[in-house]
Amino acid sequence: MALTEERSADLDIARIRKDFPILERTVERKPLVYLDSAATSQKPNQVIDAEADFYRNHNANAHRGIYMLAEEATELYEQARAKLARFIGAPRPESVVFTRGTTESTNLVAHAWARKVLREDDEILLSQLEHHSNIVPWQLAARDTGAVLRYLPITDDGQLDLSDLGSLLTEKTKLLAISGMSNSLGTLPPVRELADAAHAVGSLVLVDGAQLVPHVPVDVTELDCDFLTISGHKMLGPTASGGLYAKVEHLEAMDPFLGGGHMISEVFPEYSTWNEVPYKFEAGTMNIAQEVALGTAVGYLEGLGMDAVRKHEEEITAYAIERLLDAGARVFGPTDVSVRGGAVSFWYHDIHPHDLATVLNEEGVAIRAGHHCNQLVMRWFGVPATARASFYVYNTNDEVDALAEALAKAKRVFGG
């Protein structure tokens, strides 16, 4: 696909695309148009090479051996932690626990914090926007503790309806667990405002950063959240990389999550004592090569500049929404790009999203069709599923045009 000039002055998209080898492949003899970065991002050569380089040249278990390779592995692993901490504005590297991603991070808090702290009739406040991974762990914790789940509703344009915040967020609330960016609607909730309100009633705040951290500049001290979950594979890193940021005092007060090697200080027949934070939460051999490569992904994004990333995505999302609306699509979620990110759910001329995705695939265009692990959102809008296009640093307006052309073809096929 020929690249035309991009409106973002800051990101050199043509140069960025050269870093992503998968973008050179074809699908059905057409150039791949990858519009599913909200599900997982593609990986630049730098990240792929970093993971391979770890295995080729530095592979050993981290925090175990005292030979040189083991020292190198440990150093690379800890450097990655420091990079990730710096990337999200965390004051100390030890406030970042490596995990397999946001789902594991949320479950870690649901086990190690919620089950220890919550009592009957305590409340966890979620929102109707939440991904299943920020609902189900709390349902399980509530079942075990007698705590109660409450939900912030959403408005017709997919923003949080805060009109009843005062009655939903009370001194009973022990945790506000809220999406930083909706994975289906793109909505950017006012996290800092909510965090202040939650702290005012003594509640802690967990921000689901799966979609936020890859796409928006994040500073945990500015957000003032207690927990932030991080998905590596959605921010150019390998699958099974990611982390949990938590204020260190919370990590110190929490129980361990998984028991096993390295998370202990001493083991006796009847009991054990725990390693220091964050190692208390890193049982067994971790995804060392993946976290190391996540550190490289963080460096790549820092090199682009997260402000430039955000600017590019605002522009391409605005263009995509404009094209979709012009084509007669129903776009779910806010249309103002200042309050939303680049995940755009839509319904096109009554063509079922599955049918749409299959026809688009024939044109090389990869979009997501389904409920996006967002059944509360789907139910709210009265649809079983939506089609979703989502954008990242390598996407161009030409690709939005390819999407629009493929949609027109789908309309011809289905006569919608």
């Binding site: 999203p353 049918d355 789907m378 079983p384 599923a385």
Partner: protein
């Protein structure tokens, strides 16, 4: 395999003008199921008379593959004995698994769905109604001798 092999006229025809898409009050058998991937749900109704499936209908929403497959299913199994219906279900599954040669003599219009075989995820859409029909018949088998509800 080209797009038009999947969305043949017959699929679009059954999608846009589904046959036997109606509730069936007083049906002997009724069963519902959803496709967890997309949230589509389908309900199948069956009436029987002395071991013969006399009427099959369905309601629900879904993609062109699941809806057209359900529509064609209702036509192909009506008037067949319970054993013949089970055989049809098995044969259709075989075709969608790519194990059975999909010839028009054996499958009639359902042959139009053979192009879906190349999309494993969509195969679930195609067999959804057939799964529900099979569950309905199995539930009836277990309740043999008891009064229908």
């Amino acid at each position: 395999m080209a797009l038009d092999e999947i969305y043949k006229e017959v699929i679009l025809d059954h999608y846009k003008n589904p046959r036997n898409k109606r509730e069936m009050p007083g049906a002997v058998l009724r069963c519902s199921k959803n496709n967890p991937l997309c949230g589509d749900e389908i309900t199948v109704y069956v009436n029987e008379d002395t071991g013969t499936v006399t009427d099959v209908s369905f309601v629900g929403q879904g993609c062109s593959i699941s809806q057209s497959s359900a529509s064609m299913m209702t036509e192909t199994v009506a008037g067949k004995t319970r054993d013949e219906v089970k055989e049809r279900i098995g044969a259709f599954r075989g075709m969608m698994a790519g194990e059975v040669e999909a010839d028009e003599d054996a499958f009639g219009e359902l042959v139009a769905l053979k192009g879906v075989v190349k999309y494993p995820v969509r195969v679930k859409c195609a067999v959804l109604a057939w799964d529900v029909l099979q569950d309905a018949l199995a539930a009836q088998g277990e309740a043999e001798g008891s009064a229908p509800h």
